[in-house]
């Protein structure tokens, strides 16, 4: 189902906005997580882990889900389709995987924030972990690959796309 160009442009605008927001939030997480790992002051580590929780829940998760939803919508309302071209399928798999890992990782962000709160209230001092840095770096690489797929759109029709093309050629 291909919608008129006005709707497609609106959908593309939403998809780009959500994806850019997601990538920006991932970059922010990367910087914060790196700051925690390299910090000497435990209070700075606490502050970072307290910040990562709202960043995850209120920025990363909404933008990630919005990016996935608008991407799927965009593929369905344009000529690209959801399963006709390999680049769309690969990008969908990458994005869905990233959102799934992100949703799972919110548990870790919650635990880190709770530990930071305990430490800030006089508990055992918090020591930085490389886990948020590794996850943010992985997310950044994954989103950049997805971005490259969107821009370069490498050739290749899936079997479903080939069947559709043949039936269209036959008329």
């Amino acid at each position: 189902m291909t919608l008129p160009v006005g709707w497609r442009r609106a959908g593309l605008m939403l998809h780009i906005a959500a994806s850019v927001g997601w990538l920006g939030a991932v970059a922010t997480s990367l910087v914060l997580a790196g700051l925690a790992v390299t910090a000497d002051d435990p209070r700075l580590v606490n502050a970072v882990y307290l910040l990562l929780r709202p960043l995850g829940w209120y920025v990363l998760v909404p933008f990630g889900i919005a990016s996935l939803a608008t991407g799927v919508t965009q593929s369905l309302i344009t000529v690209w389709g959801l399963v006709r071209h390999y680049w769309v399928v690969v990008k969908l798999v990458l994005t869905a995987f990233a959102v799934a890992v992100l949703l799972l990782y919110t548990r870790t962000l919650d635990a880190l924030a709770d530990a930071a709160r305990v430490a800030a209230d006089g508990g055992s001092p918090m020591t930085a972990t490389a886990s948020p840095l590794v996850h943010a770096a992985g997310a950044a690489v994954l989103l950049l690959v997805a971005l490259a797929l969107s821009v370069y759109k490498p050739r290749g029709l899936t079997p479903a796309g080939q069947r559709r093309r043949r039936s269209a050629a036959i008329g």
């Binding site: 690969v90 870790t108 880190l112 530990a115 305990v118 020591t127 886990s131 290749g156 080939q162 043949r166």
Partner: protein
């Protein structure tokens, strides 16, 4: 009516195969990480202070 399939459209492109290999390797790495105790939930402690506060690194 003849079928007109462009050359190179049949079969899986090489770049997709490369992505598949990398994806499988990443999944294997994740599996190994989970089996060796570096997977999801690793930072969830059961005491008053979660494991992340106990001094682990990496």
């Amino acid at each position: 009516m003849t079928r007109q399939v462009p050359v190179g459209e049949e079969g899986m492109p090489r770049w997709v195969k490369v992505f598949l290999v990398i994806g499988v390797l990443v999944l294997v790495l994740i599996g190994v990480a989970v089996l060796t105790g570096h997977g999801p939930g690793r930072h969830l402690g059961h005491g008053p202070v979660p494991a992340a506060a106990s001094g682990e690194r990496g």
